[in-house]
Subunit: 183 residues, 2 copies
């Protein structure tokens, strides 16, 4: 982190929320201009492509208010404070699907939208699932519907516009590549 050639001249917090805060910074560029940058800060998050022994992946259907839609996504969640991403992935998989896994490998890590957010995302592939190891909490059941589809079905859903979540698309494509031994 940190590129000293770009110097923050002024930084103002415009909003502080539970999940995101919004900043407007004035940045001095290496070529002398002062530019304004508006962006959000976010604690970071994880997502898990969870592959069952029947070669199906979990998808979670939930209402996403910013989009006004019910979306299908891989199990995912925000980092809880200084939580370790791997620990968070294990927790989210358990909470959203009721499964535990024997193996969890990192597929990639990335900024979700570096133009206006510092959110950093950790993407995992979970295999060797013990389905139904944990009982789902009532509260979770009310908001989340959990599905299982084959990888092929998932890619058809991407093509048909039925899966339209960035991390889910990246995760499925990387998982397939890894599973086919090409990464």
């Amino acid at each position: 982190m940190g590129d000293d050639r770009y110097r923050v001249v002024k930084s103002e917090v415009k909003f502080e929320g539970e999940i995101i805060s919004l900043f407007v910074d004035e940045v001095e560029m290496p070529w002398g201009d002062i530019c304004e940058r508006e962006y959000v800060r976010h604690k970071g998050a994880v997502g898990i492509v969870a592959l069952t022994d029947e070669n199906e992946v979990y998808l979670v259907k939930q209402y996403r208010h910013p989009t006004g839609e019910m979306l299908l996504e891989i199990p995912a969640g925000k980092l809880d404070g200084k939580e370790d991403p791997l620990g968070c992935a294990i927790r989210e998989l358990k909470e959203e699907t009721g499964s535990v896994c024997r193996e969890m490998v990192k597929l990639a890590e990335f900024y979700t939208t570096p133009g206006y957010s510092d959110e950093f995302f950790h993407l995992y592939l979970a295999t060797g699932l013990e389905v139904g190891a944990v009982e789902l909490e009532d509260d979770e059941e009310q908001e989340l519907e959990v599905l299982k589809v084959s990888l092929n079905e998932a890619f058809e859903m991407i093509s048909a516009g039925k899966i339209r979540d960035g991390k889910t698309i990246a995760g499925l494509a990387l998982a397939e590549k890894l599973l086919k031994g090409k990464m």
Copy 2:
């Protein structure tokens, strides 16, 4: 768009910027609870995996203030008002790389971060590139460095954490899948 079972009771604009605005809404859930949702609105954007006849893809290196880092990304940009995504992709490819293309196909479309943003992203694959068709503007050259790498190199860069931008990772993985005729 629109799921009537989730009713906006109150909506407040907390910040209105050039690129993003921030809202806090109170939403009545189907089970009766009122929940607060904080999120940003964004005009939407496009990204282009641009494949040369030598099977290399363009990567653009630029400073991304929210992350404090120089990032490597596929050519991309925000929709300009009511601009058509395909037209925007053709424009951005030209502006950032100086290339025009004979073919541009859609790889996927998705919300980048549906938990706290309505940004909708259009991902394309451009082939049949005429490299150097357009002269790059000086202003662009000051902020952007343009590289070309093979798809294999790009995947090594993802594994090594040298490419860490979500849309770029999704785009490269989907482009490879499509190019190998599996989509």
